[in-house]
């Protein structure tokens, strides 16, 4: 029988920290284990709360946060708006295709550092002027990253590890300004880049359905939320709607986030607006365009933020400012490809 063990003797190899970027979070799996043991709520108790309360009690200035969804798709917007209203400062951010979420946090001057895979742009919609300015002026410090590296950094944490080997970033300036380390495979000698596990202080995810204990279902693509939910030290869930626990138990293979990962859960209908929520409502392209346009003039933008965020008490009031249920119904019709 062939033996594919290439190396049977002990050998020394070199680890090269080729990235000069900072490591904004502690990748130590032992410390994460201790945190999870002592602080993760194992109790299956009701965790329904309010956005105001959860932002006040669970997000502190300086925290490093991870946001679910994908920029303007299934984004937990209600929590982000409340962070602005409460004036959260000096936050770190995991920026895997951070689009409208990044834009909101920059508008509130909430963040000062970011693991940046994709920022300042809104995909096909164009670039955010304020987001660009925040980066170009050095207000937000960056560690360069890629979407895959960032999702694998979450995955490393979700697996209870402190690193994972990957095959991207190698040989580029993205690597040089990342926080990665070059290493090699113990079995083949192949070169790898090790990326550090990312355990955010807070994860915030918007889902389709959850029970009051925090058992969650998501329809359609998961993006990186299956791993973010497991990596986050504290996890805040907003949900389109509450369902009874019995509903969750009817199809347990749909439970992507079990209750013991969740610290708080809040029902926020249309909570992904103005982003797209699969099978529920399409993104409000007009409102997103209005954001980008408003950014071009500081006074107009101040007024825009006042109207939609600072001047309203909560997310339901925000929905009123954009046309309320009539507008939302249009987006629902659009999402479901119904010809009017």
């Amino acid at each position: 029988m062939e033996n594919f063990n290439k190396y049977t003797e002990e050998r020394t190899v070199t680890y090269k920290p080729t990235g000069t970027g900072k490591l904004y979070t502690d990748p130590d799996a032992e410390k994460a284990r201790e945190y999870f043991r002592d602080k993760k709520p194992r109790k299956m108790v009701e965790k329904a709360t309010t956005v105001e309360k959860v932002v006040k009690e669970m997000i502190s200035d300086g925290d490093y946060i991870g946001i679910g969804g994908f920029g303007a798709n299934r984004t937990p917007v209600a929590v982000l708006h409340e962070m602005l209203r409460q004036g959260k400062k000096n936050l770190g951010l995991a920026g895997h295709t951070a689009t409208h979420d990044f834009q909101i946090l920059v508008a509130g001057n909430c963040i000062n550092r970011c693991d940046a895979a994709y920022i300042v742009g809104l995909e096909a919609r164009g670039l955010s002027k304020i987001a660009r300015k925040a980066v170009e002026s050095g207000t937000v410090e960056l560690c360069e990253m890629t979407n895959a590296s960032l999702t694998w950094r979450y995955k490393a944490a979700a697996m209870g590890l402190s690193f994972l080997p990957v095959r991207c970033m190698l040989g580029t300036d993205t690597e040089k300004f990342s926080n990665a380390v070059e290493m090699e495979c113990p079995f083949t000698g192949a070169k790898y880049l090790a990326v550090p596990a990312l355990y955010p202080d807070v994860g915030i995810i918007h889902v389709h359905r959850a029970d009051v204990y925090g058992n969650c279902q998501i329809d359609g693509i998961m993006i990186a939320d299956q791993d973010l939910a497991r990596a986050a030290k504290r996890l805040i869930i907003t949900t389109e709607r509450f369902v009874p626990n019995e509903y969750i138990r009817r199809d347990p293979s749909k439970t992507i986030i079990p209750y013991y990962l969740v610290d708080a859960v809040i029902e926020v209908p249309f909570g992904g607006y103005p982003g797209n929520m699969a099978y529920e409502y399409f993104s409000d392209e007009e409102h997103l365009k209005a954001w980008l346009k408003a950014e071009k003039d500081p006074d107009e933008f101040k007024e825009f933020l006042q109207r939609h965020i600072y001047g309203v008490k909560n997310f339901n009031e925000y929905l009123d400012t954009i046309g309320g249920m009539s507008r939302l119904q249009e987006l629902r019709i659009q999402e479901n490809l119904i010809e009017k």
Binding site: T97, L170, G171
Partner: protein, 256 residues
């Protein structure tokens, strides 16, 4: 039949996507090229999006690579690691990228202009999934307008790897063997990569484009194929399909 630069680039790009291959695309021109390929030549071209959509029956052009169109009546609605790991495992044939700068080895900058990373002159979005796809898919294609600022000797930041510094450099860096840039489709010509030097080599010039125009619009020395041809212009069928079925609202083809 008249056509604009964007229509030309999309039609040319679409012809490289053979049936039954797998391509990861972003929004915009690459997605239009993949949709056109599917409708014209490659009905079973398998389109993936990096946020998790696999094999959708695209009802319209997605606005985001994570929006619900990317998994509309799809074969699978998966996740970002699932798609990226499928690339890393070697199952994805093609990807399409864009960028602000590109050099002769096909290295792409979509991160910044300037020489100070802490205070860039201009900041772009960064890699997103571009570096990953350029690292892990077998063949990377680019659709881009061509001018000397964009096609430059030294790009300010290598966001995504082309052939890096030349032959063997990708492998030395630890990137997967035999992967790398494949074609660059511009408004002036179709460019491949010389097998020996891994440098850009023009394969066909677009109708009525002079060689000198291409040279003038390139900031480095181009190689030229021995069998240099004239690019086959878009056919009326291609244009009809692109305009009526792929992009009826001219989101992409209206940009040219």
């Amino acid at each position: 039949m008249e056509y604009n630069d964007m229509e030309l680039m999309i039609c040319l790009a679409s012809r490289y996507l053979e049936d039954n291959s797998i391509v990861v695309v972003g929004t915009g021109a690459p997605c239009a090229a993949a949709m056109l390929a599917q409708k014209m030549y490659s009905p079973r071209l398998m389109i993936m999006f990096e946020a998790g959509g696999i094999g959708p029956m695209l009802p319209s052009m997605p606005i985001s690579v994570g929006d619900s169109r990317t998994f509309y009546r799809a074969l699978a609605a998966s996740s970002m690691p699932e798609v990226m790991e499928t690339c890393q495992r070697g199952l994805v044939d093609y990807t399409f990228l864009g960028g602000a700068q590109i050099d002769q080895y096909g290295n792409i900058n979509s991160t910044m202009i300037g020489d100070d990373h802490e205070k860039p002159k201009v900041r772009f979005p960064g890699s997103g999934g571009a570096n990953d796809l350029a690292s892990l898919c077998w063949k990377t294609m680019m659709i881009t307008p061509q001018d000397p600022q964009r096609f430059t000797e030294k790009i300010d930041f290598i966001t995504s790897p082309g052939y890096l510094t030349g032959p063997g450099a990708r492998e030395k860096a630890g990137l997967p063997k035999d992967s790398g840039p494949y074609k660059v489709i511009t408004n002036l010509c179709v460019i491949g990569f010389d097998e020996e030097t891994k440098r850009m080599k023009v394969e066909s010039t677009h109708p009525s484009i002079e060689k000198q125009t291409i040279i003038d619009n390139t900031g480095f020395e181009l190689l030229w194929a021995d069998d240099l041809t004239i690019s086959e212009p878009p056919s009326p069928e291609e244009l009809k399909c692109l305009r009526e079925e792929v992009d009826p609202y001219k989101y992409i083809i209206g940009r040219a």
